[in-house]
């Protein structure tokens, strides 16, 4: 590496450009970790919703706040991106979309699908 002085060496992560498939891949991992970390909170919500009518009503009321709606949209974004890039993974497993052009198309499709999901979710909230 020391011999070729004209080749640039990037260790600055913010200057490394991942191909679109790489971006989808790391997002799949990041969303996965964040979703896993949210499991205890989700279990808590489930427990409260089933406990009794008062707890249920408290949850419904809490979900009406704009802060809660923002959190729900964020959770939906994480879940949607992980879900659609997961589908892409399963398709790649059965040899669909393994060619370069198709892989790139599927990668962009995951973002489109997540965007669409967020629009629909936002409209419902």
């Amino acid at each position: 590496m020391a011999q070729n002085g004209s080749r640039p060496v990037f260790l600055n992560l913010f200057r490394i450009r991942l191909p679109i498939g790489g971006i989808v891949s790391i997002l799949h991992r990041v969303t996965g970790v964040l979703l896993a970390l949210s499991i205890p909170f989700m279990l808590y919500l489930l427990q409260q919703s089933l406990a009794d009518a008062t707890a249920y009503a408290a949850l419904v009321a809490a979900f009406r706040s704009p802060g809660a709606k923002l959190l729900m949209l964020l959770a939906a974004a994480l879940l949607a991106q992980h879900f659609f890039s997961g589908l892409r993974h399963l398709l790649l497993d059965i040899d669909i979309g393994t060619g370069k052009a198709a892989a790139r198309r599927l990668a962009w499709l995951t973002f489109a699908a997540t965007g669409l999901t967020l629009v629909i979710a936002g409209a419902c909230l």
Partner: protein, 115 residues
């Protein structure tokens, strides 16, 4: 000692991820469709639905799949980024016990929702 990361993590992990992700995806789609087409309007309806045996079995399988899926995912993250064997083993064990605790909690929720 450097490891090979999550490479060669094996057919077992691959199979667990695929099987659990198929169930998780199917269950999620079912939930979304069900609540869009036939929402449960109040607490009583919600509890009544959840009290049904088959519904709780499906949810139980969902939690099992979710925790196994999270386990396999987190494990490959640790194998890729935690290069100190001691740290990796400790974090992996903690994650395993944490997920087991969540499984017990989920089981308690399912069992306590009997009518």
């Amino acid at each position: 000692m450097r490891t090979t990361g999550s490479a060669h993590a094996g057919l077992g992990e691959w199979l667990v991820q695929r099987a659990t992700s198929v169930y998780l995806a199917g269950f999620l789609i079912y939930l979304v469709l069900r609540f869009v087409l036939d929402p449960l309007p109040d607490h009583a309806a919600w509890r009544a639905w959840f009290a049904q045996g088959p519904v709780r079995v499906a949810w139980g399988l969902f939690f099992l799949s979710l925790l196994l899926h999270a386990w396999a995912g987190m494990r490959s993250v640790y194998m890729d980024y935690l290069h100190s064997a001691g740290l990796r083993v400790a974090v992996t064990f903690l994650t395993g016990f944490g997920l087991l605790a969540l499984a017990l909690w989920a089981a308690a929720i399912l069992i306590s929702s009997t009518p």
